[in-house]
Symmetry: C2
Subunit: 437 residues, 2 copies
């Protein structure tokens, strides 16, 4: 059972498998400091710190490794420096007071650093550094009372840590690197695609155009709802990464989080939409048929906008078709609203026919509004989803395009402008027609 | 700026402040192993491991500390044992092959352990143990090649780690303990209360009964949406905690996660409800007034159910009023549905009046359905929220009550049964009446 799961994971994501081999390789290399005598004599007995550093610091993504490495080096340096300084002050005040001064300073610094870890910004960026700061300070200050060659201890620890971290950074960056930034850059459009598929499947399911495939696609929005934590940790790690591929050092990772949040706000709507699926059979067929084409059209054009935005984020290119797609979506909203407006006509018409037969009935005409309510609220949720796409998602992607300086697809526009405008629309209609059959 | 934030945090949550002092105290105590000569001679130079253990293992909650302590001890023991065994096998095969055997075994074990960390269950419960396993194995196996008194190293490391972990466990459990289980037990009802307030405020805002307070309460559902990660980590830690207070060792913490998930599913609905607030002024006053009392009644009775459930979870007592509250909510749904049904009457009535004045108009009567749609979809979202409360939240709390064996409020029922049934209903009506004025 356990091995089956592990095997499935390895087949699914070979990069995780490579990560494990990388950890093994890094540990093997650092062991050489022990196995080979000349290297061992070079750094002395504290080579153990290099091994420890590799084990503790090596993370799946380059950003994670860099975050821990830089935190570890800086915190060790800072704490070592501080401990030496306070130790010097303590030693000036005589041998008797030394342990008291060191103890009290340890207490104050440890408490203050632990406290700072509760502050969200510190927690997100320097959590590991805080631990290492307390660790190093207590190790140096405590062994300072015993070990006379204090400078040596601090120096050796720092140099072995630097050896360990350099090894980790080199291994994680050169052998099949997994960049947190790239992961985030891929995750966001993938989630947007899932959202689009969910929306399509949900509406298709409601109007009875569903098949086996759409049953699976329907659940896609759940991934979007649950990906907040992983998006945030990736963005945190991505901040530490140097320029790589299409991303420079100051790439606006924060904007990706905004897109993620906007996707989630659409996902909330879709989640509410799916609950309408339970009541889909309560609505009379004729009423559903009346709104069918407009709803399908709106969902197709909405998901088209989402997919267009996803492609734009993925390729880091401003989309030439996005304005047309948004206009399509807006038109689809208007068509649906018109269909909603004409819904009473349909109902009253039937009512009228009845009246003619019964002739001069004095009763007040009661419309079967209750039968319309489920489909009306479904339609208005669909309109709400479209408006969230337009107001939140489009805006968030626009902001990213602005700050990340997305490429202009000028050449494409000139060459393909006429083609594209002509080809999208029939394509869309084709899809609707196909789904309706 | 930084200090202001820190100060605000300290005032807000004094327990966090105590936690920092606890870390300081634990570090001071463990330093005594260094400062006091008899203790130092007892454990030898490896007292440094005790200091390290305290720094690395001490967490905010008792569960977190126990998780790390147990993981650390077990992983150290297992890895040390394994390393000694393989070292013995390697030493049998001659001095020349020893480093190769040790190196390859290190590579395989490190890779396999790193791989196992990708499996969600292992990640949740034994992540720290995996790190420590690799760490100890590499330390013992690598220093095994150099240091002859290998058994001593393993033994000293284990005993100092046990000293450190015991110190941490005692400090975290005896001085102002923060139990992850209690935190989770408090968080879930608190979030439910926020949900209830949000629902009330949202509906009050829609119908124009809002004041300053309700503007603040409206945002409460956002806490519910964002608390998934913290709920899960608390439930993870709570699993490690021994019996404390009302909770025994096998308390069903998983059920709390279910309640959290159900709260979130209600929060998605409320999130969609709040988006209706933008369109609240589009609806004609007369139509809104028609549904006002029914909607307010439904929101009050729904939030009453949520609060009743929250109290039940908080006090770990089955609620005697919950059935009445659910019935109230169901009745409110029926009233709202009836009001929706009679909505066309209202509209057609006005239409009729017009007709009488114009006399014998042959035009088809067109109902202003578009004007009704916003309020109709608002009402149906409200009904959906109520149904989610009934289907998900009530069920989840019921399951918790079942598995955690909530107390029966039998005495209360017998004594106050007549009283309570009489007092709730007028109270509720009072609130509605007050809000309407």
């Amino acid at each position: 059972m356990f091995f089956k799961k592990a095997w499935a994971l390895g087949i699914d994501e070979p990069r995780k498998f490579f990560h494990c081999l990388k950890v093994g390789v890094a540990l093997m290399v650092v062991s050489l400091f022990y196995y080979m005598r000349p290297l061992y004599d070079g750094v002395g007995g504290s080579a153990i710190w290099a091994v420890m550093t590799v084990v503790v610091v090596f993370e799946y993504t380059v950003g994670g490794t860099l975050y821990k490495c830089l935190n570890r080096i800086c915190a060790t340096f800072l704490a070592g420096f501080l401990a030496l300084g306070i130790h010097w002050i303590a030693s000036q005040s005589g041998h008797r007071f030394e342990p008291y001064i060191m103890g009290i300073s340890l207490f104050i610094l440890a408490s203050a650093t632990t406290f700072s870890r509760f502050i969200p910004v510190v927690k997100a960026r320097f959590d590991y550094g805080c631990t290492i700061f307390i660790l190093t300070y207590s190790l140096v200050s405590v062994s300072g009372y015993r070990v006379d060659h204090l400078l040596n201890v601090a120096h050796e620890r720092l140099s072995t840590i630097i050896i360990g971290t350099c090894l980790c950074i080199i291994t994680s960056m050169l052998i099949f690197p997994v960049w947190a930034g790239v992961e985030l850059h891929l995750l966001i459009p993938r989630n947007m695609d899932k959202l689009a598929t969910s929306l399509d499947c949900c509406v298709a399911d409601y109007f009875g155009h569903d098949d086996e495939e759409s049953k699976e696609g329907l659940k896609g929005y759940k991934c979007v709802l649950n990906s907040k934590a992983s998006e945030e940790s990736m963005a945190n790690f991505a901040r530490w990464e140097p320029a790589h591929g299409q991303f420079n050092f100051c790439h606006p990772w924060k904007n990706y989080l905004n897109i993620g949040a906007s996707s989630r706000s659409c996902a909330y709507c879709i989640e509410t939409l799916t609950s309408c699926l339970d009541s889909k059979n309560q609505v009379e067929k004729s009423i559903k048929n009346h709104l069918d084409s407009a709803c399908m059209n709106l969902s197709t054009s909405s998901s088209n906008v989402i997919r267009e935005l996803a492609t734009s984020v993925y390729t880091m290119t401003r989309s030439s078709k996005i304005d047309i797609a948004i206009q399509d979506m807006k038109n689809a909203v208007i068509v649906l609203q018109n269909d909603l407006k004409s819904l009473p006509d349909l109902l009253i018409q039937t009512q009228y026919d009845k009246e003619k037969k019964e002739a001069d009935s004095s009763e007040i005409i009661v419309m079967p509004l209750m039968e319309v309510i489920p489909v009306v609220s479904f339609a208005s949720l669909l309109i709400e989803t479209a408006s969230r796409i337009e107001l939140n998602l489009v805006k968030a992607v626009e902001e990213l395009a602005e700050s990340a300086e997305f490429k202009q697809p000028e050449d494409e526009i000139k060459a393909n402008h006429n083609k594209t405008t002509e080809t999208i629309v029939p394509n869309e209609e084709n899809t609707i027609a196909l789904q309706r059959v």
